[in-house]
Structures are given as structure tokens and as C-alpha cells.
């Protein structure tokens, strides 16, 4: 369980996170939504301990900075945005890097990497050098590395924290679903997954709980059907939209409208 109390972050003299308090339970896939600059990535960075903040973050009751880095690394993995690697590791080697916090033989390591390659259908990429991968392929490889770090191949793994900053930003439709399904499955087995997303419909399809941020504060917090409402979203995104229920899943689907002009006849 992750608890944040009064998280406040200043960047270049500007308050980008304003006394945010929240509790994130295990077993949930939590999605952070909000327009650009709302504070989503900042909140995630604070939970990652990447930026200075005031307030308190407790992971299973312990302050983050009191935990041993290697122990914490076996419990918390982070997928960052915009990160390229300049060295030609192949994809399998990159995923194996996720095993850094563990003491194990290379054969044991290979078993884990192998399972994750199968899980995320990365067979074709396994031998390719990460410097040659497309943005989306690299994102999937990095995601697999995070899963390797948290022992996600083991269905009994519980009480881990996975933080994903726009994990689907470079992915095609199929791989968006593959990555989010894997993240959701990992959450359902008793872990906490927090993801920053921009796609409201993907959030609706996968999130157990949505936190909608605006100007550094949480404006709305709840399951998709409570947060993804026109009266909540429209003032924040300042975009016309229709919200209908998904015919198969009975969850809200957002149909946004162009800023100018009527629909084509």
C-alpha cells in the first residue's frame, strides 16, 4: 500500500503539485489523467523519488528514503518516458538488466527473460539491438524489463509497485492492449500499478480507479464511470465531447469533437 500525504512540488518557482494526499491499494490498476502540465508526471516522479518534494510518501508504512535501495528495487519498478540507450544491448540483454537487484545464475535469469519475452510477444525483437528498435518496440522492451524487475512472470508475486509514465505513447493499437493487459493482470494478482495515460478510452477500459489531475490537484477520484463524465471532463479538457457506454463492456467511451466546424454530412 502506498500513502502520500500533502505532496507539494515546486518547479522553477511554480507550484506544480499542491498538497496531494492519496492512498493506493494493492490489487488496483490506477490511471492518472489530466491535460498537459496538470501534474501527472510530477506526481509519478515524486512517488519515484526522482524530484524533490515536501510532504510524505509511505510504502507499506515506511518512508521511501529509509528503505535499502536494492530491496526497494525488488518492490518498485519505474518505466520512464523519453529514454534512449546509446549502447547496442540486444532486447534480451536489456530485459535481463531488470534482474540487477537479484542474486541468481545466468541460467535462472534466462528463464525469467524467456517467460517475459513470450508474455509480451517479443520473440522477433529478442536478438535485435535496442539502438535499432523503433520507439514503440523500445518501449515494449523497457516495459518487459520492469516486469522482470518485479518478478511479474511469477503468478504469486504480490505487494509490488509498478509506475508507468505514458507506457503506450508510442504503441500501435494491438500493443497498447497487450501492454495494458499485462499491467492489469499484474495489478489483479495483488500489486499496485500506477500509469499516466492520455487516452481516456484506454483508461476507461483498463483502470480500476482514475485520478483526474488539474493544476496540481486531484479534481476527481474514483472508478471510470464516476470520473469519465462530461461535466467533469469538459471543463478540464475544454473540448466538446459525447460520452456513450461501450456496447460490449458497459463502460464510458468518450467521443471528442473538433474545436471548429460541424461534423461532415
Amino acid at each position: 500500500m502506498l500513502e502520500c500525504h500533502n505532496l507539494t512540488v515546486f518547479r522553477a518557482g511554480k507550484q506544480v503539485l499542491n498538497k496531494v494526499s492519496l492512498t493506493l491499494e494493492a490489487g488496483q490498476f490506477i490511471v492518472l489523467l489530466g491535460e498537459n502540465g496538470a501534474g501527472k508526471s510530477t506526481l509519478l516522479s515524486a512517488i519515484c523519488d526522482d524530484i524533490p518534494y515536501s510532504g510524505q510518501i509511505l510504502w507499506h508504512g515506511h518512508a521511501l528514503d529509509t528503505l535499502d535501495p536494492l530491496t526497494l528495487a525488488t518492490q518498485r519498478a519505474v518505466l520512464l518516458q523519453h529514454n534512449r540507450v546509446n549502447f547496442a544491448f540486444n532486447t534480451a540483454e536489456l530485459i535481463a538488466m531488470g534482474r540487477y537487484p537479484y542474486q541468481e545464475s545466468s541460467a535462472e535469469q534466462a528463464v525469467v527473460v524467456d517467460k517475459l519475452i513470450t508474455l509480451l510477444a517479443l520473440e522477433k525483437l529478442a536478438r535485435r539491438e535496442v539502438t535499432q528498435l523503433s520507439g514503440g518496440e523500445f518501449q515494449r522492451a523497457q516495459f518487459a524489463r520492469c516486469l522482470a524487475q518485479l518478478n511479474a512472470h511469477d503468478p504469486d508475486t504480490q505487494n509490488k509497485l509498478m509506475l508507468l509514465d505514458e507506457p503506450t505513447s508510442a504503441l500501435d493499437l494491438h500493443h497498447q492492449h497487450r501492454v495494458l493487459s499485462a499491467a492489469q493482470r499484474f495489478a489483479r494478482q495483488g500489486n499496485t500499478v500506477v500509469a499516466v495515460l492520455h487516452d481516456l478510452n484506454l483508461a476507461s477500459l483498463y483502470a480500476d480507479r482514475i485520478l483526474l489531475l488539474d493544476q496540481g490537484q486531484i479534481r476527481s477520484d474514483g472508478p471510470p464511470q464516476d470520473v469519465l463524465r462530461r461535466d467533469v471532463l469538459q471543463p478540464i479538457y475544454q473540448t466538446g465531447m459525447q460520452i456513450n457506454l461501450h456496447p460490449g463492456y458497459n463502460i464510458p467511451m468518450i467521443f471528442s469533437e473538433p474545436l471548429t466546424g460541424a461534423p461532415h454530412a
Binding site: A73, A92, E93, S106, A107, A110, D114, A126, R127, Q149
Partner: protein, 348 residues
């Protein structure tokens, strides 16, 4: 064995290790057997061969081998190994294959400090030969820390700034060396010229006792940290999230690079491009994972230095070229090639 296991170990690194070790042995044999006094292939094993096979070998010949060729060979091995190691470490630290202590000005900084000690030693009573290596280390440390501060922004290293700062530092280093040469006497002046171009000719057991410990500490400590440095190649934040104490590791790597470069410069002057060329070659053969790449780099560093030394002695025999001339002649076109590669990569 799973398919992935074969991918993770498919770099054929054992073959390359054996191959480079064999070439290294052959080169070592060559360097002990040949020299201005003459060629004799029995020399490397003279202590082990039965007396009847070594009767005609003169005392002079043996002295030449033990006091000139052997120290020179060991010096080449130490310097080659440490230049490759510190090159690989610089590249991991900066997360860019273009980083190299000689291009970044670290070697220049070490040389200025070493030359200052040499120039001042006849004039100032408490300065002596033993201080050359520590001074070179401090010079290298000052430059490495300064560079890292100038070029890093939000945990990212700007390679352009790093290389430009290297150009500036090298220019200042050359100017300072010029300044010191103005004050130096004839003996110091000769030493300075030798320092600027790099040479193994000054190898002696007494010179080695000051520089070798620095080099050995650098190599051993870098090898011990290969797993952490591997993680650092992913980026500082990613390494931290994997459980690496990044701040401490960076300080340690900066310290160790300075130690290695300082030791190498103190004993053999400024030898450029080895730290750039050798790790690149090793990565090409076995991939960037330091657990495989570092041992091969060390061997290849020795091979490159021994070959360059052999060439330096061969081209203008019986005189010899400074070894830095050879490494620069081969290394600088290679640097341009890497620059073009990286530019292509950036636009891909």
C-alpha cells in the same frame, strides 16, 4: 537450455578472449625478443631454458631484456589495459561511445600537472620524481570532475558540450605546457616533449613503482563495479530505480578514471585515442555488456599498445617514433568515422 539463454550468451566472447590472448602472447614474445641490440627468440624463456641452449647469450643481452625490454613490455600492458578500461568507464559514465579521456582533456590535465612537477623539481627542493604520478592523478581528477559538472544537465550528459569543453581544456593544457617549457631546463624540456607525444621508451622499474599501483587499483575497482556500471548505461534514473547508488557510483567512477589516466600519463605521457578505439572494437565483437566487454577491452588495449609500440620502433628504426603519434594517426580518422555514425544514428 532455453532459447533466451543462448541469446544472452551468444556473443562468442570466449573465442575472442582466446584469440586476443594468443595475439597478445605473440606480440609480447616479439617485443622481448627484438630490439636495437638484436633479435633472439630465446630471450623470453632465457631463465627456463637449459644452460647448453643459452651459452652464447651475453650478459649485456640479458640486462637489456630484464632492464629495458621487460619493463617496457609491462608498461605497455599496464597502460594499454588501463586506457581501455578508463575509456570504457568514461563512455558508460557519459552514456556516449564518443567519450574518451584524451578527447575530453583529462589526459591533458594529467599531463600539465605531471609536467609542472617535472619543470619545478630542479628548482623547488621538496618536489621530486615520486610526485609525478600523484600530481597527474590530481590533474586528471580536477578535469574529470569539472567536465562532468559542465556537461551534465538533469542527469543527462550533453556530449557536444563535453567534447567542446575537451577542446578548450586541451588548448589550455597545451598553452600551460608551452609556458612551463619556457621555464624548464634542457633535461626537463626533453622529458616534456616525450610527455606530450607519449612514449614507452622511458620504462624503468623505478618509474613504474609510482604509476603502477594507481593503474592496478583503477582496473581492479572498475572490474568489480562492472555490473553497476552496466546499469548506469541505461541512464541515471533507470539505474537508480534498479537499486544502484548512482551518486556514489558516479563519484567512484570519476575517481577511478582519474586514477587510471593519472597513472598512465605519469609513466607514458599522453597517448590518445586508445580509450576510444579499443572499447568500440570490443563492443562490436561481444556487445556492450561490461561483464564480457571489459575483459576483452583490456586484452585488446594491450594488443593495440604493443602493436603501436612495435610500429613506433619499426617505422624509423633504429630511431623510434613517439607511440602517441601512431595511436593518433590511426585513432583520429576512426573518431571522425564514429562522429559520422552517431550523426546518422541521430537522424535515423
Amino acid at each position: 537450455m532455453t532459447p533466451t539463454h543462448s541469446i544472452l550468451t551468444a556473443r562468442h566472447h570466449t573465442i575472442w578472449l582466446w584469440l586476443s590472448s594468443t595475439v597478445l602472447l605473440a606480440l609480447a614474445w616479439l617485443s622481448l625478443s627484438s630490439g636495437p641490440v638484436g633479435w633472439d627468440s630465446r630471450m623470453p624463456l632465457v631463465a627456463l631454458l637449459p644452460d647448453q641452449l643459452t651459452q652464447d647469450i651475453t650478459e649485456l643481452h640479458i640486462t637489456v631484456v630484464t632492464q629495458i625490454r621487460l619493463p617496457r613490455l609491462l608498461l605497455a600492458l599496464l597502460v594499454g589495459c588501463v586506457l581501455a578500461c578508463s575509456g570504457a568507464a568514461s563512455q558508460a559514465l557519459c552514456r556516449n561511445p564518443l567519450a574518451d579521456p584524451s578527447l575530453m582533456g583529462v589526459t591533458g590535465g594529467a599531463a600539465v600537472a605531471a609536467i609542472a612537477v617535472i619543470a619545478l623539481s630542479p628548482k623547488v627542493a621538496f618536489i621530486n620524481e615520486a610526485m609525478v604520478a600523484p600530481a597527474a592523478f590530481l590533474g586528471a581528477l580536477a578535469i574529470t570532475s569539472l567536465l562532468y559538472r559542465i556537461a551534465s544537465h538533469n542527469g543527462q550528459i550533453q556530449i557536444t558540450i563535453l567534447l567542446l569543453a575537451g577542446v578548450a581544456i586541451n588548448a589550455v593544457a597545451m598553452a600551460l605546457i608551452g609556458l612551463f617549457s619556457f621555464f624548464a631546463d634542457d633535461t626537463s624540456l626533453r622529458l616534456m616533449t616525450y610527455w606530450q607525444m607519449g612514449a614507452l621508451a622511458g620504462a624503468s622499474w623505478s618509474a613504474m613503482q609510482y604509476g603502477a599501483p594507481l593503474i592496478l587499483i583503477c582496473v581492479v575497482m572498475l572490474v568489480m563495479r562492472r555490473k553497476q556500471i552496466n546499469a548506469l548505461m541505461l541512464g541515471e534514473r533507470d539505474a537508480r530505480h534498479l537499486g544502484v547508488n548512482v551518486r556514489r557510483l558516479k563519484n567512484e567512477v570519476i575517481f577511478l578514471i582519474a586514477l587510471g589516466v593519472g597513472g598512465a600519463v605519469a609513466m607514458s605521457g599522453m597517448i590518445g585515442f586508445v580509450g576510444l578505439l579499443v572499447p568500440h572494437l570490443a563492443r562490436l565483437l561481444v556487445g556492450p555488456d561490461l561483464r564480457r566487454m571489459l575483459p576483452l577491452s583490456m586484452l585488446l588495449g594491450c594488443v593495440v599498445l604493443l602493436s603501436a609500440d612495435w610500429l613506433a620502433r619499426l617505422v624509423v628504426a633504429p630511431s623510434e617514433l613517439p607511440i602517441g603519434v601512431i595511436t593518433a594517426l590511426f585513432g583520429s580518422p576512426f573518431f571522425v568515422y564514429l562522429l559520422i555514425q552517431q550523426k546518422r544514428g541521430a537522424h535515423a
